[in-house]
């Protein structure tokens, strides 16, 4: 884990309001695993105040990339960064996706900016000898960021591209034609989507890991600010930052934001 300034190597808009920011940091590039995140301090000022968590999107040599949508103060500042600026990074943090294990096929399901961890995840899975099938959903075609995803199956809520409907409905129809038994599901996206994925995976008797995105302050387990409710456990809550953000879907109860 490192806490330091990193040099921004570029920011580019890859879809409507969606940006990829890259920075140089050999340590993170060397050690980060799929599903882990970084807690970024976007500037030195006091407002916005807290760090902002982002999944690692891609790694290329010494350069690490994150992808984000501009939704508020912090992401607006990040989108305005230029080559040569710095971001202060803390990470890599959190428990990575479990890519080992018996399964032969990985089903990746992403809603909106839930695509963030998918390129690095797909790459590691392929290296581990797994076959990868990826499903991506967005509200409309302009919000799709499909770069670095190998032959994705696409769904849009408004039907402007690919399957007309939710990404989970798309996965269900795919499974009807191609029944899968030896598969594991990995998902990231809005809570409603994760709930649907979780129901689907359990009904299909497939193991499934979800990556959660709740509020966070520290990102390292010292504030107790990021609980998620556990199912049938002695301790009622787990911390998303240190015990997640990836969780086996049968162990937690999701909450509608």
């Amino acid at each position: 884990m490192t806490l330091c300034n990193a040099d921004v190597t570029g920011v580019r808009e890859v879809a409507q309001g969606v940006y990829v920011l890259s920075f140089r940091n050999p340590e993170v590039a060397r050690t980060v695993l799929p599903g882990q995140f970084l807690n970024l301090r976007v500037h030195e000022g006091l407002d916005p105040f807290l760090r902002r968590p982002f999944s690692v999107y891609r790694v290329e040599k010494d350069v690490v990339e994150i992808i984000f949508q501009v939704i508020g103060k912090g992401t607006a500042i990040l989108a305005g960064k230029k080559r040569g600026d710095v971001v202060n990074i803390l990470g890599p943090l959190g428990v990575p996706f479990g890519i080992g294990g018996e399964f032969t096929k990985a089903i990746l399901i992403a809603g909106g900016l839930g695509i963030a961890p998918m390129p690095i995840l797909g790459e590691h899975l392929r290296k581990a000898g797994k076959r990868v099938e990826i499903f991506v959903g967005a509200r409309t075609v302009g919000q799709l960021a499909l770069h670095h995803l190998k032959s994705p199956h696409v769904a849009t809520d408004d039907g402007s591209r690919g399957f007309h409907g939710t990404v989970v409905a798309l996965v269900e129809s795919y499974f009807k034609e191609h029944p899968q038994t030896d598969a594991k599901v990995f998902a990231c996206g809005p809570t409603r989507m994760l709930e649907a994925v979780s129901r689907f995976a359990q009904a299909s008797f497939l193991p499934c890991e979800l990556s959660l995105e709740g509020e966070m302050a520290c990102g390292i387990g010292i504030c107790q600010g990021c609980p998620v409710e556990r199912i049938n456990a002695e301790r009622r809550y787990a911390l998303v930052c240190t015990e997640g953000p990836t969780f086996d879907c049968t162990t937690i109860r999701l909450r509608e934001a």
């Binding site: 806490l3 609980p227 809550y237």
Partner: protein, 313 residues
């Protein structure tokens, strides 16, 4: 440069501590922070039994600060002794255990058990918790209860006993005077300020408990005024707390009368803030030609003919 100070029978190497609930139990940050450079660590509040804490969302960012309602989530005193204390004992800094309870008896039970353990240098008592017996209002807004807790705990320990006061009262100095009379060695000023944040779009409060505790730079001016009020009217050492991000912030607290400071929310942005602040205070004092950082304590250059509480009316 003399950086340290003594409280009762314990010497602290410097005047910078990390605040309860903002540094975990110290082990989470072992690879990020040289804790040996801190005056001490205030642990997360401990109760007799483990507490789950409040449902999410527990935190919300606000301008230059944050609101929290963690609900005193903690592992309980027994797990602390078994799982955390052995590691804390190995650290080259002082360990002040913070205690929170929902009855006077529970405060006594927790302190009594901890007092027998090795490696604990003192106690800080969080009185900003709901008093279950008396309808869930915080002990800390009831001067008599706060004094009662203090005298009961004083009878149990010879180690430094620090009472952490809440700012959510009209005259914090009355509480400081009461706990001094009841035998406290110092007060910590202050805990979080009651606050609220609302999402206009969803019409919902932004944390699950509706109101919560505000912390961070947003509360620094309030904290300075509370420390000053106590320092002006009660002769008791003060740990100044509230929104400290830099060495200069910390010096401001020393000047208004704090003997030491605690770094809270700033740890969430950088857990080594305390170390940076300790070094920064030392170089500030050197630049000012001082030999002892203690020379800054209460050295504010202010007119004394205004009463602390009414001057602005």
């Amino acid at each position: 440069m003399k950086t340290g100070f003594t409280l009762r029978n314990v010497h602290f190497k410097n005047r910078v501590f990390v605040a309860s609930g903002t540094f975990g139990y110290g082990d989470e940050v072992q690879n990020l922070v040289e804790v040996g450079q801190l005056g001490g660590i205030m642990t997360k509040s401990l109760s007799w039994k483990p507490r789950d804490g409040n449902p999410p969302p527990r935190i919300a960012e606000t301008p230059s600060g944050m609101l929290n309602s963690i609900g005193l989530a903690n592992i309980g005193v027994h797990a602390f002794i078994e799982k955390k204390l052995p590691y804390l004992r190995t650290l080259d800094t002082c360990i002040i255990v913070n205690i929170a309870a929902s009855s006077v008896q529970e405060y006594c039970d927790v302190l009594g058990l901890l007092n027998e353990q090795e490696g604990i240098h003192g106690f800080e008592i969080n009185v900003s918790c709901p008093n279950v017996k008396e309808g869930g209002l915080s002990f800390g807004i009831d001067c008599d209860r706060t004094a009662e807790i203090t005298s009961r705990l004083r009878a149990l320990t010879e180690k430094p006993l620090i009472i952490k006061l809440t700012p959510n009262v009209t005259h914090i100095s009355r509480f400081a005077a009461a706990v001094k009379d009841a035998g406290a060695d110092a007060v910590s000023v202050m805990n979080t300020v009651i606050g609220m944040a609302v999402d206009a779009r969803t019409r919902k409060p932004r944390i699950s408990t509706t109101t919560g505790g505000l912390s961070g730079p947003a509360i620094k001016p309030i904290a300075l005024a509370k420390v000053y009020e106590v320092a002006q009217s009660v002769d008791i050492p003060i740990f100044g707390i509230g929104g400290i991000m830099t060495a200069e912030d910390a010096v401001e607290f020393l000047l208004v009368g704090a003997s030491a400071v605690q770094i809270g929310t700033a740890n969430f942005i950088d857990p080594s803030t305390g170390v940076t602040v300790a070094q920064g205070i030392e170089s500030f004092a050197r630049q000012q030609g001082l030999n002892d950082i203690g020379e800054l304590v209460g050295a504010l250059d202010a007119r004394r003919d205004f009463s602390v509480l009414q001057s602005w009316l």
